[in-house]
């Protein structure tokens, strides 16, 4: 009787050992999911902040539907991308401004800052913009592509054939087809 008990115990031990080994080798049918601790919001992944410098390159904006808004060539640029917005400071800029996907005017400036989020360009240092047979020159200029709006300030001069206009400031559409000047004088020669 004692020997059969010993055999039974030995058999049970053997079975249990085999079961443990099998579990270790084969694994569970339903693997246990690792416990995940949710990260606090501030630790979630964000678009990276990028800064860089470029030279003799080109920038092109489009409206997301394949229509160009702005195309600029420059001698050098410093770009910064942060919080989903890109701002670039350009030197010796020659740009084409587009309206409804078509080239509307040309802008030349020593310096310009372009904001890809607002789609605005601020040019300074003596700006000229040419379109629709007219050329406007001013100290500083802001172009809002979304509004099809140009505003120039400081020593404004516009020439359209033999019509010359001097003013303190002016606003116009992107193509310079229509323009309005303040504190202005026009001469027809």
């Amino acid at each position: 009787m004692a020997s059969s008990s010993k055999v039974n115990i030995g058999l049970i031990r053997a079975v249990l050992t085999c079961a443990v080994v099998a579990l270790l080798i084969v694994g569970c049918k339903h693997p246990v999911k690792p416990k995940v601790t949710p990260q606090p919001a501030k630790e979630k992944a964000q678009s990276p902040n990028i800064e860089g410098s470029f030279s003799k390159a080109k920038i092109i904006w489009d409206d997301g539907r394949g229509h160009k808004l702005w195309e600029a060539e420059f001698a050098s640029a410093d770009a910064a991308h942060a919080d989903g917005t890109s701002k670039v400071s350009l030197k010796d800029v020659k740009a084409t401004l587009y309206k409804n996907g078509k080239a509307a005017s040309k802008l030349v400036a020593p310096t310009a800052t372009a904001d890809s989020r607002t789609k605005e360009v601020h040019a300074s240092g003596g700006v000229s913009v040419t379109g629709n047979g007219a050329t406007a020159r001013c100290d500083e200029l802001v172009w809002q592509s979304a509004n099809n709006h140009i505003k120039g300030t400081g020593h404004v001069k516009m020439a359209r054939e033999n019509l010359k206009i001097h003013a303190n400031s002016f606003t116009a559409d992107t193509s310079l087809k229509n323009a309005k000047f303040t504190e202005a004088k026009a001469s027809l020669e």
Binding site: M158, N162, K180, A186
Partner: protein, 193 residues
């Protein structure tokens, strides 16, 4: 001693008043515009806020028997531009609105004196200059004063609801209304007596 002769045109009668003149060519020449704001759209220039239109033709070059438009001032002035034969923009028509003042020069042919330059000062509610017709039409309480060069007192005053000035032949046409007839006042100077 001077005396005033007043002629009052009756009702809807049209008074034609011409002083010496012979048909001759007319040219506006170059011009400047100034004002609080200037708008350009579709070959039209609109000046607003103390608007001023000035011809910059050489001084003293009024052909005998013609008039020259020197300046217009108003609350606003609109100038329609056209391209001339040389492809240059030139004024086709100018419309002045609100508190209008017009300054012109006329070269009268006076017997025994030749060509005499006189100043023309006109006021009205509105005025239209037409380059093709070489006319200036004043409407709304129009009044024209003709002065000897440099004088303060006019030698003639014309007033009416509408005055049409023909620059190329130095003529003025004054029109009144039944309730407000046209008036022409001529002042004889001492040396004319």
């Amino acid at each position: 001693m001077k005396y005033v002769v007043s002629i009052i045109a009756v009702a809807a009668a049209i008074a034609a008043f011409s002083i010496f003149g012979s048909a001759d060519s007319f040219a506006l020449g170059k011009m400047t515009l100034s004002g609080k704001t200037i708008e350009y759209a579709n070959q039209t220039v609109t000046v607003a806020g103390k608007a001023s239109f000035t011809s910059i033709s050489p001084q003293g070059t009024v052909k005998p028997g013609t008039m020259r438009l020197d300046a217009m001032r108003a609350d606003s002035i609109r100038v329609d531009l056209v391209k001339d034969k040389g492809g240059k923009l030139s004024p086709d028509k100018a419309v002045a609105t609100g508190d209008v003042f017009v300054k012109a020069k006329r070269a009268d042919i006076v017997a025994g004196q030749g060509s005499v330059l006189r100043d023309v000062h006109a006021t009205a509610k509105s005025a239209t200059f037409d380059s093709g017709l070489a006319t200036v039409v004043l409407t709304g309480s129009a009044e024209i004063k003709i002065l000897e060069a440099g004088a303060k007192e006019p030698i003639a005053v014309l007033s009416g609801d509408k005055v049409t000035i023909s620059l190329k032949d130095n003529k003025m046409r004054v029109e009144g209304q039944s309730e407000k007839p046209a008036e022409i006042t001529y002042t004889q100077s001492d040396k004319e007596k």
